[in-house]
Structure formats: C-alpha cells, structure tokens
Symmetry: C2
Subunit: 356 residues, 2 copies
DNA sequence: TTGAAAGCGCTACCAA
DNA sequence: TTGGTAGCGCTTTCAA
C-alpha cells in the first residue's frame, strides 16, 4: 500500500478512485496526452492549439485537481527544484537565522530544501554531498561547513573556508568587524582585552583573529597570548551548544588569574555564556568587565545586560545566499567573487568605560 | 544544460563521460540490466544468481560509483524517503530543538525532510500540504500548526490542535505541567500570580490554561483576570519573535498597576522577555517577582537570572515524533492514541520565597 | 491543429 | 541462472 494511494481526500484522485494522470485526463477528454501536456506547460506548440480545446483541458485540470508528477517529469528535465543546506547544527540560532532567510527566498521561488545538520562529524560532511546528489539537488549552501570534495552543482558557502571553481562565498567583512569591536573598547579606555577565537574549523575564525591582531597593532596595544582562548567545538552530545563553550572558555580565563577588563567574544552565544561565567565568579558586567559579542542574534537585545555586539545581517545573508545560488543554477550572469557583508556595531549595555 | 551533466568530478559519470545507469553497467559487463537490478536490490531472486556474477557486478558498481536514480525508482515504488515538517518559525528555539530531534532519527533511517516555516500565514498553512504531496512526501510532522484539510498520508502533530483519523499527537501533559509550576510558586508563598497564556492558535494554550485554573482552584487561590494576559502571535515581520511578545505582555501587566509577586510565562522565551521588562521598570527578579518558564530551552540555564522552568524534553519529543511517523509509514503496529510527555520542574534562580 | 511513439532509468513479471 | 519486456507518468520530436 503506497502512501499516495491510500486516499481519503481529494488529492490527485478522481471520483472513481483512479489516480489523475495525463492518461486519465486524456481518456476523459478524448484528446491525446500530448495535447494536454503541451497546453499545461504552455509549450511553444500550445499556440497552435484551438482555444476551445485549451479551455476544455483547463477545466478538466481544475475539476480533477490534476497535479503533474514531479518525479516523472524529472526523468526528462532533470530539474527537481530542490537544493540542500548543510549546517553544523540546526538548533543553533546562528544557523537558524540564516535558514530563515534562505527559506524566505526559496519559498518565493518554488524551491524546497533539504537540511543536513552534520554536527561536525567528518564522515557526514564527506558523505552528505553524494547522498544529496542522489536526490538530485540542483545546488547546495554550505554554512560553516568545509567542502571536502568537488561537487558537480553550484555551491554557495556562508562564512566558510570552502573554496573551489563552483563556489560563491558570502561572509562578513571580518576585518571591519574586528576593528569595530576593538576600537569601541579602545575608546572606552580598555587595554587589557581578552579574546575568544572561533574553533579553527570555523570560516570566520582566522580572518577575524587576523583583523583583531591588526586592529590591536594599530592601536599600539599588545594582545597577551594568555588572554586568547579558542572556543571548543560542538561535542558529540546533542545537548552541547555554544554557550557552554563560552562559559567554559571564560572560566578558563578567570582561572588563569590574568587581569583583563574586556572580552571580545566570538559570537553572541559565547558572549552570553561568558557573562554567566563572570557573574558566577563575582565579576559584574559591564562594571568589572565589558563584553562584546558578534552576530546580534535576537536574544542579544533581551539578555541581561543587553549585549553590545557587532551585527551581521543573518537573515539577509541567508536570502542573498539563496538568491545567488538560484541565479547560478539558472545560469544567469553572476560573478563568482566573494561577497563581503558590512557589519555594524550595536552598542548596548554590556560595555562601558573602563574602571581604573 | 542540466545540473547533473555539467560534471567535473567523479559523480555518476564514467570516464567516457557517459552517465552511469543500469544500461551502461549492463553493456559494460555484458549482462542484462535485470540481473544487475536484482543483485543491487538484493531481491529474492538474487539468491539464484551466481556468486561470480554478483562479484563482477559489485565490482563495477564500485568502480563507476553507480548510484541508482531515486526518481526513476520512485515511479515504481512510490516511495521517496522524504517527509515534511511544518513549523511556525524555523528560527525559533522551540521548533529548532524539535527539528534537531526529528533530524537525528530521520538521518539514522535514511530519510530526508523538507521544512516549511509558515509564519502562521493562513494561506501557506492551507496550501503547503498539497504542494508537499506533489513532492511525494510519505508523511508530515505538524509542529504547532493546525491541519485545515485532510491529507492522504500519516501525520504526527506535536503540541497541536490538529485532529483527524490519520494523526498521532504528541504533547506534554499540560495538566501536570501547570500543576508543577503552580504548586512550586504556592510553596514559596505566592498568591498573586500573573499568567501568560499562549496565543489561541497554539496547541498547548487551552490545556495549560485549564490546568492552571484547576491547580489554582485546588489551592484555594483566585486567579484575577487582570493578571492573565495572552501573548501576541508572531507578526508578519521577519524580525518579530516571541521574546518581544513576552516583553510586551509583561509591560502591559506592569502598566495595569495590579499587584503580583510571580509570573507563570507560557514558555522560556516569553519568560526571558518578561524578565527584561521587569528589570527595565525597576523590578528585580526574583526579589520582587518570581518567574517560571516552560520548555527549558538551552538558554534558560544561561540567562540572568537562570530560569526556573518546566522542562519539556524537546529533543526527545522530536525523535519520538519521527519514530512514530516512520512506524506508521511502514505500517508497523502503532497506536493512534495521543502520547503524553511527562514534564519536570527545574528549579533555578528566577523564583524564590515571596517577599512580604 | 492534433496525435503516435520513443525514451528518461528503473523494477517486476514472465520466459528461457 | 539469466534475460526480455512492459510499464511508472511525463516530455519531446516527428507525422499526420
């Protein structure tokens, strides 16, 4: 018993219980399936078909609620209007915001998407593209996921190390982002600044870190290596998320005994985790320590204290990624250059003038 | 130019640039496509095929990296190993946690899923199931989404009003959840308790509210209607999320001037929004007002103060939903009764003994 | 202005 | 042990 046949509603089935296919319609109308196909797809030949025939066809289509079988159609056209999105973790607000933007654009354009959330498991990252090709995806969006082997469809990579002849990359201008965060703290008088760097697998890590170093240098400030801590990756457990790693990283920082008056986190989630850790060890934010996050996820404006952060327009980046991918799929002109997104500093309550 | 043909890697294409199909392999090996098909699918007949032939076939399969075309296969079997998940908003932690669980189970079982996030737009909710049927989904999971018309495939509804002959429902025991929250506050001496009810479209709203009223009655407490406020729905904007509605609802509560010492929110996100609103108007949590949330999303244990909340095991509920759906798809014995999930009270920092 | 027929890649039935 | 062949539902020449 096949799902589509156990019918108890009006879907795709005539009153006599027969599946509504082209053949069914053709018999019903007494015309050939070719004619119907041509009319329905408004193929060039449709121009030559009598208006009266067309009308009868459309009427029957409506009456029986005929829906072409996409998979049969696929055998010819090889187009399924599906793409795939690879993310490290779907339950993470960063990915979720991007997905939100991606979905918005895709839905407007009749595309669906598969998401595979690989939790940074290397074998999944390696195998997924192949499995997805079986499903005839027309393109893929890689979010913070390395492309290990070439893939025969267009790819858009968001914040990601992936390179390749067929990949377009979208990322924040990490140089600018770093400098925004750094100069903000500088203006508030901070000199002893701790830094969270992202896991090295993360596409933003290296550039951001480089930007931070450069900004420090220009400001004539020395970043002590004791104050730089790398965030852990996701664990294998379902439960582990980034705020844990922020909490944990901040705890290490405190334990080191090194003095610092400000922290530049790697993202808002780790910033929130860090705030929690500071509070737990009796340090107040921002009175004792200023904290700046990255991303500006929604929660950042509701946390206590509200987070000062460098905003990446995630929703828009998602939309842009989808748009870029569909253009490439349709072979519309589309430059393959990296697209750099301008970040913006959002000053809220978690940073203030340094205490001296 | 078809995506699968613009090949620049090893996918599905022989060295001569020909697509690797059964026919291709058959020619290469000098056997019939039937034989290959039988061997590959390990059909009953495979038992009758010479081991040497089998070996040669598998070798060729590996050599050319043959992958059956799922869509051609679909025309016969009518099984695509795809389901759909309908959610109000993918960027919302509640849905994201459920999706996480759903994905875990599906991935283990070779299924993919489409997600459609409808933002409570009535036309999308109404039309999506039909569009999804075109895509041959074998089942659907409705998260907090009403089923407006019957659908010819199995459905699992999570926290949801949806009813129907082919729907299994999974939800927390809202009665128990309400009583957990209420009696916790009672024990701390609270009598003037404000309540957020969910939007009426939400499947948990009515039951939870009923449970709360009953718990109040049993405790001999009168819930003042001035202290009950209904959360707004999502707006049409991409930006609006639940914590806004929590913030806004709490603000209304404060503005009303009615005295209360505790709040039972509808979920953690609205609880966090409410805490923010209280703080902004000079009320301390928990010193002045105790707050209890629902769900126990990850952020609840990192917020300031850490949130006391009634936990729903969202990840597990997602897994359970997927499991139930696949059982029904495979026609394995599976009761259609509602599945009630036991909630658990997690006491943290946002509640304390009432001030008097 | 319309229809017949080939074929997309695969499975399943029946023969050999 | 193996192969031929008829579809699945659709699109696309090519004929009529």
């Amino acid at each position: 018993m096949v799902a589509r046949n156990q019918n108890n509603s009006g879907y795709q089935v005539s009153s006599k219980g027969k599946r509504v296919t082209l053949t069914f319609l053709a018999e019903h109308l007494g015309v050939s399936i070719t004619t119907i196909s041509v009319v329905i797809n408004d193929a060039p030949l449709a121009a030559t078909i009598a208006q009266s025939t067309k009308d009868r066809i459309w009427e029957a289509v409506r009456k029986f609620n005929y829906q072409p079988n996409m998979y049969a159609r696929y055998l010819h056209s090889n187009r399924m209007y599906v793409i795939a999105v690879l993310v490290p973790h779907i339950g993470d607000l960063y990915s979720a915001s991007l997905l939100d933007g991606i979905e918005t654009y895709l839905a407007q354009n009749g595309y669906f998407y598969f998401v595979v959330s690989h939790r940074e498991a290397p074998d999944l990252i390696e195998k997924s593209p192949e499995t997805l090709m079986d499903r005839a995806v027309e393109g893929m969006i890689f979010i913070n996921t390395p492309l290990l082997r070439p893939v025969p469809v267009p790819i858009v990579a968001i914040s990601d190390l992936t390179k390749g002849p067929n990949v377009s990359r979208i990322m924040v201008d990490n140089q600018a982002a770093a400098s925004l965060a750094f100069s903000h703290l500088r203006m508030l008088g901070h000199r002893e600044i701790a830094i969270f760097t992202g896991p090295s697998a993360n596409g933003d890590s290296a550039k951001r870190w480089e930007g931070l170093r450069r900004a420090a240098k220009e400001a004539g400030i020395q970043i002590s290596s004791d104050l730089v801590v790398e965030l852990g990756r996701y664990g294998q457990s379902n439960r582990t998320a980034k705020s844990d790693s922020g909490y944990e990283a901040a705890s290490r920082l405190i334990a080191s005994g090194k003095r610092f008056t400000a922290l530049i986190a790697f993202n808002d989630v780790s910033a929130i985790g860090a705030v929690r850790a500071f509070l737990d060890s009796g340090l107040r934010v921002p009175q004792d320590i200023s904290v700046v996050g990255f991303d500006d996820i929604h929660e950042a404006s509701f946390s206590v204290p509200r987070l000062t952060t460098v905003r990446q327009p995630l929703h828009e980046m998602g939309e842009l990624a989808a748009k870029t991918l569909l253009r490439r799929i349709k072979n519309e002109p589309q430059s393959l250059d990296d697209i750099l997104i301008e970040p913006r500093l959002i000053v809220r309550e978690s940073t203030r003038q340094v205490n001296r």
